[in-house]
Amino acid sequence: MGWSVLKKRIIPVQLLLGERLTKTIQFNSHRDVGDPIKSSKIYNDQCADELIFLNINRQKQGIQPLLEILEAVSEECFMPLAVGGGISEFEMARQLIQNGADKVVVNSVSYSDIKTVSRICENLGSQAVIAAVDVRYENGAWSLWSDCGRVKELVTLNDHLNCLSGAGVGEIMINSIDRDGTMSGYDIPLLAYVVSRVSVPVIGCGGAGTYEHMRDAFMNTGVDALACGSIFNFGDNNPLRAKAYLSNHGIPFKVV
């Protein structure tokens, strides 16, 4: 007694493109995967632990699509909501939190203007900020990419993680672009490396295709949470069944 561990989390990631949800493979080849509101309601019923919405529409920048999602989803979902995609200013983050987001996800701005990330953390609290880091493995090394995988950043993964920790972000979401949508398993060495480098909770993302992939990532990397896309979109899988499987392997989840 006197000691407890927070439960592991399973977090569906929903990519917004216009009015619809999409799913990518290695950040390309979009496939329509349904209506964001209906899909969120189903995840709420299936006891997902949180939801992450990322607006990947590069034509229509700004946070208006995210505000609209929050308005609609907060009627259906009584769970923590994280939103991101195109957050470049403090004011955007503030508005999203004030309109029902529990967390914001920042990515490109953390390369171009880390002070804005610090300001968001200081004013809205570290618990309200997830930094997403998109990674490709090239020529024997990890490289970082911003703007939905389009712009290569020159900073190393280690330096960038230090920078994010210094800014006070509450969680790191590490996403393997190589594994995105491939359903071939999480990038275990990448996830394990990030967990070893930061003291905040890490959300692993990219590659889940089976519950075994999720088990391997939870048991071999120390991640606090796994983000999932394709596994729940393309197959008879859902968060409830994932937890049933993973609980048999001794991985703790919330009890509902």
Binding site: G2, F78, V255
Partner: protein
């Protein structure tokens, strides 16, 4: 009609929608005269204890809340709203509180390298039966986001306890005044059940 006290410190959308989903009407309360309209009151809140209490005093809601409680109607404090029910708190430079349930609000010191804030799903051990826990099983998880917790309230006021490195009080009950450290409005079915129980409660134990 369920009153939701608005001290301008948090987004009220989640709690309002949750009350909606439970099948009750709500009214946002920003001034003392609006308390006449409501049968139950919720004091939500995110932010610092000192600022929260100052906001209450500034809008004369502190006295109105005391009068509301004297009228025997039920009140539920959520997160900072629960903490503000205590006698005093440390956060933001220290301040007195509403003094409705006793106790002091102090920073969490969980040890074992557990992180503060405590963010995530964690379970509640209810200490005794209460109308608000009707239909809720033991050790079910609710969603927490906080760095401070209430200490030193009377043992009989402690309705729920939670383990996070250390054991802390996660729910309080003193006659018609209830408090929960977690966010029922973010805790899916269990949270909605608790809110529904509150809206149906007559304030008697």
């Amino acid at each position: 009609m369920i009153g939701i006290i608005d001290i301008g410190l948090c987004n009220l959308r989640s709690i309002s929608k949750a009350i909606d989903a439970c099948g009750f009407d709500f009214q946002l309360i920003t001034s003392p005269d609006q308390f006449d309209l409501v049968t139950h009151c919720i004091l939500p809140g995110v932010g610092s204890f000192k600022v929260g209490f100052e906001r209450l005093v500034l809008s004369k809601l502190d006295i109105a809340i005391s009068n509301f409680i004297a009228s025997k109607r039920p009140l539920l404090g959520v997160c900072l709203g629960m903490q503000l029910l205590a006698d005093n708190g440390d956060e933001g430079g220290g301040s007195k509180g509403l003094g409705l349930i006793g106790g002091s609000v102090r920073r969490l010191e969980p040890g074992n390298k557990m992180r503060v804030p405590h963010v995530g799903w964690n379970s509640i051990e209810f200490q005794y039966r209460h109308p608000i826990t009707e239909g809720l099983k033991q050790a079910r998880d609710f969603y927490f986001v906080h760095s401070f917790h209430i200490m030193g309230c009377k043992p009989e006021s402690i309705l729920g306890k939670t383990e996070y490195g250390t054991q802390f009080v996660s729910a309080t009950a003193r006659s018609n005044v209830l408090g929960v450290q977690f966010h029922p409005e973010k805790s899916q079915a269990n949270g909605l059940k608790l809110l529904e129980n509150f809206c149906l409660w007559d304030g008697r134990c």
